[in-house]
């Protein structure tokens, strides 16, 4: 089978190469230090974590949504919380031969 007089294997290889060359991803923009609500009530310090990996160089598994999930995880630890103040963010990573695993930690004072 040929596409435009080229063997399909060759076309597929070129397409794959192109995908590989431009392989990249972007996370959503996540607000981690919002403007605190008026007359805020402090609910205590909380910490949220989220994990993700880039497997085999190109495949992102839960990697791009880490910030959103870590922030949501932190808020979930203080029922009723709507935002965090006094925020600290840390990203740790681990290489495991088949890819890179990363852990994002967000901690802060939960408020509503």
């Amino acid at each position: 089978m040929k596409i435009q007089n080229r063997p399909i294997g060759r076309t597929l290889c070129l397409a794959l190469l192109l995908v590989v060359l431009i392989a990249s991803c972007s996370s959503q923009r996540t607000t981690i230090v919002p403007m605190p609500p008026e007359n805020m009530q402090k609910l205590g310090r909380v910490e949220g974590k989220a994990y993700g990996t880039i497997f085999q160089m190109f495949f992102s598994i839960f990697h791009n949504s880490r910030t959103d999930r870590a922030y949501a995880d932190a808020l979930a630890k203080a029922p009723g919380a709507t935002a965090l103040i006094d925020v600290t963010l840390q990203e740790d990573w681990l290489w495991y031969s088949l890819g890179t695993f990363s852990i994002l930690t967000i901690s802060g004072e939960a408020v509503r």
Partner: protein, 151 residues
């Protein structure tokens, strides 16, 4: 430690290798004291490379560096609504990571009452030192009060 344990330790070290990133503490802005009518958008980005996926070059501190750049960009203004975006890209020799921080920067609200008080005090000092006459002092004081009430 026998040779087998040593071998396992070496293998595990070779198979799993990791690093801790620099913790970034985002300072809170004194919202009540800010002039919220004067918002400036600021943006900063920092890049890191994970060479061969395990040699970090500017990777572990890129969020901290981006935050420093963001504060530089804001100057004397205070930052709030700080948002983070992470972008990664495969670059043959590893992965490139980019951290983009955006925020709203606000200046401190000007306390016009305090400024008026300071100016009147300065006028009093000039008058007490004999540098201006009573007439000049009174005229300048009236001018300051009139400007303040017009605001």
């Amino acid at each position: 430690m026998n040779i087998k344990t040593k071998l396992i330790t070496v293998l595990l070290s070779a198979v799993m290798f990791g690093c801790a990133g620099t913790p970034v503490h985002f300072s809170d802005a004194p919202i009540a004291k800010l002039d919220l009518s004067q918002r400036h958008k600021v943006r900063a980005r920092a890049v890191g490379l994970l060479l061969f996926d395990f040699i970090p070059i500017g990777v572990n501190n890129r969020q901290a560096y981006a935050y420093e750049l963001l504060k530089d960009e804001a100057g004397n203004n205070y930052l709030t609504n700080i948002a983070i975006q992470e972008v990664w890209r495969w670059v043959f020799i590893g992965h490139k990571y980019v951290t983009i921080l955006t925020a709203d920067a606000y200046p401190l609200a000007i306390d016009s009452k305090q400024i008026l008080t300071d100016k009147i005090e300065a006028l009093k000092t000039l008058y007490a030192g004999g540098e201006i006459s009573e007439k000049e002092y009174e005229k300048a004081r009236q001018q300051l009060l009139s400007n303040f009430l017009k605001q």
